[in-house]
Each structure stands twice: as structure tokens, then as C-alpha cells.
Amino acid sequence: MELVCPAGSLSALKVAVDSGADAVYIGFKDDTNARHFAGLNFADKKAQNGLDYARQKGVKVFVAINTYSQAAGWSRWQKAVDTAQDLGVSALICADMAVLDYASERYPDLPLHLSVQGSATNYETLKFYKNNFGIRRAVLPRVLSLKQVEAVAKYSPVELEVFAFGSLCIMAEGRCYLSSYLTDESPNTCGACSPAKDVRWEQTSAGLEARLNNVLIDRFDEGENAGYPTLCKGRFKAGDRTFHAIEEPTSLNTVELIPELQAAGIKAVKIEGRQRSPAYVENVVRTWRRAIDHYNMNPENFKVKKQWKDDLAKVSEGNQTTLGAYTRAWQ
């Protein structure tokens, strides 16, 4: 299985390459990608440097152009595709039919991957994207159970990549507008969820309050782990209870599923976190490299090592990890 790793900066890219990534994925410095955060991503020259570095070490570079263009911004998306082609990247990761259409028509030899933002949860959908744009790979949303992943893989006309580790999106990616309902930005339109520009922290007598565009997302007592106010992970009132009505802050960690994913024919596993630090990237990539190598050496006797779990737990949201939808509990 190919290990696909996030790089939000040149230093993260280098660390990922050096720690054992088979491929790194990056985005350009604008709203054409789903991690459009201040201080992140690559302008042309940095992208070239990153590409050179990765290529020297035999590591592929994918470029995510995976938000949805609106009429006024189309030239940016078009330029992003052109730039990626000029750079000679290994593949584009796209979601918008318009971007896929343009890329496949203009550069028929440039490999296309369907982004998780394309929201493909079944093989009929994959057929659509293969027939229309010749995609070679699709990244599956984090909403599928292992059984469902296996079912999609069985009839998939393209290679599949699944999320292995990182922040846990519990909504079908590409079909979640919660963020633009509370703020004016969403992953689809702007490449941002619960954007930092709208976040406000305030220490009050009731506790530390986290607000998003003035809406109270959570309130933390002293000593409580106060995470980023991603709105689906807030504590809200429903009925007579105040609780994580939608989801708790946890990270996805599927290291124990490596044998099952391999058996299902999954071609690549993806580490989430272009917005995270080089230290995070180093830790997660190195641990996952070890786990995959360990599996490859002796598939029959694969066992998750405590050390891996401990290392990954250090960088997990809320310090807890879950198998998310991959296990039955959710289904």
C-alpha cells in the first residue's frame, strides 16, 4: 500500500519525504484546495523546490485542486491545473466536475484522482468519474465502514485510497455545508471549515469560551482540553442534555486495519493534516511507515505495536483515537 502524506509547507514536505512517504500531496496558495489556511501551501517556486526534492528521493507529488469553482473564480482553478501540469506533478486530486473536465480534456496524460471532496461512496459513482474523466484513483470518504469499503473495492473500476490517520470528518466530505451555514465559508466553496478568521476565544467566569462567528461552539472548564472549535465537534443542547450532540473531538487511526485494507485491495492510505506541523508529519509518517513495512515483512503475524499507538496518540485530537466509521459501532 502506498503511503500518501500531507505537506502544507516545504519543511513538512521534506520531513514527509525523509520519514518514508511514498507520495506527498500539496495545494497551491489559494482557495483551489481544501486546506486554504493562512501561511499554508505552495506558491509556484516553493512547489518546484518541493517537487525537485521529492523526485530526487523517488517520492511522488500529488496536487490537490479539490474545491468547487464558482464562475468568478474559474481562472484560478484553470491556472492551478495548468501550473500543476507545467510542474510535472504525478497526479491531480480533484472534486469539481468542471476541473476534472478541463484537466482531462486539456491534459489527457495527466493522472487524475477523485478527491474525497468528490464524495464517492459506491462503485456506480466511480464508474461515472472513470467514464467521464478517466480518473485512475478515488479517495473514499471517511463515512464508510470497512465492510462498505470492501464492497466498493470489489467492483471499483479504479484504484482506491482511504484515510488512515488524522482529523475525523464525520460528514460525507463534499456534502457538508455546516461551516457556511454559521460562517460564510465552507470546504466546497473556499477550502475552509470553521475558518480561523471567525474563531474567537474568551475567558469568562463561566469558563473558556470558543466562538465561531459569534456562535458559542463550546465552553471549557479549567483543566479541560480545549480543542479548535470545529463546529461539528462542539457541545450543544439537545433535549434536556448538553453534550457533543454531533461528534466528540477524536482522531481517526486505522493502523490496526492494515491487513484488512490490504486484503480489500486498497492501493493507498492517506494521512490527513496539511494544516499540521512538520513535527506531526514526521511522527505520523514515520510510525505509519514502520507499521506498513512491518506488515509487508510478515503479513501473517501483523500485530500493532504499543509504541506506534503511543506515538500516534501524542498528536491526536483530544488525545483519543477511533476507528471511526470503519467499525460497526457507527453503522
Partner: protein
């Protein structure tokens, strides 16, 4: 401009559903969408029941459209989708690319629903190639984007034989998950959810700790807490070339809204002001939950 009734997004009892469509048949809408779009466990009406109901509603002289599931993963769900798509008679609304793929294989014109990500004219052109004869704008988009999109689409020659529909009333479908939030609310596992949705014909209200109404939980779907209402924008829509305004069913109030919208379309409405629990932000490129007062 025509008026449509969207599919019922909530889980209502069979009786309540049938009564609703009896009323719909004699109401002032032009198009009726029906079918289960949220959760395949909701089986008060089976796929065959929906098809039969659709066929019997065709007698009303209204256009009937079968809406299909939005998040499909299981083979059993694809099976139901195939049955609906190949019904051979009633028009189909695809809410997932799987539906688009099936309809395009069948070569039958269909509707691209609000959960299909058409954000620009080029994407619409791709959909037109698949046989789309009507598209519903994704709910997070608004007036200016639509204006630009329609003008680009016109230039590309995509608009001919293509109708545009806007989701204009009702709680907004904002997200779909693997998780069932209604089951979570009851501390039940999803595979033993006891079909609790049926006890919440308007979803489960979620408030912030400061009592702002934020969301409504509807099984695996998260909806807006406030009710989207573009009644005041109908004349603008008409001028822009929108063909259809969609009213999404809300318990108890749907047909009153149908009459109000009809009056507004005919230009005979009184002043239109939003109620406190309503919003229109998306239409004005503002946060969806906002109430924006139109400058017109």
C-alpha cells in the same frame, strides 16, 4: 415561475405521508417530488409504494418526480436506486452521482438534485451531457453565483432545454453522515436505531449553550435550525430566469406556504418579512443562518 414540493426529508408515518400527498394533489404546486432521500432504513413506504404513489399522483395533472437516496453505500441501496431509476414512467431526481450514472446509462432525462455539486456552468454542461433536463442549485449557493452561472451557461449553449430550480423554503439539508445523530441522541447504536426518527417529524432541535437554534438532527442528515425562506426573492428569481421554486415540506405549514408563495409569484402578496426563526443568508452570500434584508 412554477412551484414544486420537495421530497419529505423527515420520517413520517405512512398515514401522515399519504394524507400529505392527498393534500398535495389538490394544492397549487406544479411539481411534486417524492421518495426517501435520507435513510434507507425508513421503510414506512417501500420503493414499490413510492412508485405506486407516484403513478397515482400523476392523475392529478401535476408533474411527479421520484427522488432518490443521497448517501448510498450498501448494495441493497444501489438495488433500490436501480429499481427507481428504471421505473420506466416517472421522472427521477438523482441526489448522488450513482443516480446520475444509472440515468445516463438508461438514456432517460432526469433531474439533478440539490445534493449534486454543480457550482459552475462547466459542471452543468457535464451534467447536461448525462441527460439532465433540470437542475436544482446546491443550497449553499446564492443569487450572484446563480446569476454568473446562468449567464456562462447561456454563453456555452447549455441552457436550452434545461430548467433551473431553487430550494426556496424549508429547513436546509446541510450535511450527510455515516453516523445517525438521532440514534446518538437516544444513545442507541445505528443498527438498532428503533427508527426513532418517526417520533421527530421536524427533527431534533440543537441549540448552542446560549440557546441559539443551530441545527436540526434528522437521522444521518443535519439540517439548519432555522427555516430557509426566499419568499421575498421570488420576483428576483423570476427575473433571473429561475424556472421553479422548491418548497421543502415542513409539518403543518407546507400548504399555507404554497399559497403564500403562489401569491408572491403572482405579485399579489402583502409585505414579506421573515419570521424570527427564518433565514435567507445563503441567497445573499452571507452565512446561511443570517437574515439579510434585500436592498431591492
Amino acid at each position: 415561475m412554477k412551484l414544486s414540493l420537495g421530497p419529505i426529508l423527515y420520517y413520517w408515518t405512512k398515514q401522515k405521508t399519504l394524507e400529505f400527498y392527498e393534500q398535495a394533489a389538490s394544492s397549487d404546486v406544479d411539481i411534486i417530488y417524492l421518495g426517501e432521500t435520507v435513510c434507507s432504513k425508513r421503510r414506512e413506504l417501500s420503493a414499490q409504494d413510492w412508485i405506486d404513489l407516484a403513478k397515482s399522483l400523476s392523475q392529478s395533472g401535476k408533474q411527479i418526480v421520484l427522488s432518490t437516496l443521497t448517501l448510498l453505500a450498501a448494495e441493497s441501496e444501489l438495488k433500490v436506486l436501480r429499481k427507481l431509476c428504471s421505473n420506466g414512467d416517472i421522472m427521477v431526481e438523482a441526489n448522488d452521482m450513482a443516480g446520475v450514472q444509472l440515468m445516463s446509462e438508461l438514456g432517460v432525462p432526469f433531474v439533478s438534485g440539490p445534493a449534486i455539486n454543480v457550482y459552475n456552468a462547466r459542471a452543468l454542461k457535464v451534467m447536461k451531457r448525462q441527460g439532465v433536463s433540470r437542475w436544482v442549485m446546491p443550497v449553499e449557493l446564492g443569487r450572484d453565483t446563480l446569476q454568473d452561472l446562468l449567464s456562462d451557461a447561456k454563453e456555452m449553449g447549455v441552457l436550452e432545454g434545461l430548467e433551473t430550480e431553487v430550494y426556496a423554503y424549508g429547513r436546509l439539508p446541510l450535511a450527510y453522515s455515516a453516523r445517525c445523530f438521532t440514534a446518538r441522541y437516544y444513545d442507541l447504536p445505528k443498527d438498532n436505531c428503533q427508527l426513532k426518527c418517526i417520533e421527530h417529524p421536524e427533527g431534533i432541535s440543537v441549540h448552542s449553550q446560549e440557546d441559539d437554534e443551530l441545527f436540526s438532527l434528522n437521522g444521518i442528515q443535519t439540517m439548519s435550525g432555522r427555516t430557509y425562506n426566499l419568499e421575498g426573492e421570488l420576483s428576483t428569481m423570476q427575473k433571473m430566469g429561475v424556472d421553479i421554486a422548491r418548497i421543502s415540506p415542513e409539518a403543518g405549514i407546507t400548504f399555507e406556504k404554497v399559497d403564500q408563495f403562489r401569491k408572491a409569484i403572482n405579485g399579489s402578496a402583502q409585505t414579506i418579512a421573515l419570521a424570527e426563526a427564518e433565514c435567507n443568508g445563503y441567497w445573499f452570500k452571507a452565512p446561511g443562518m443570517d437574515q439579510v434584508i434585500s436592498a431591492d
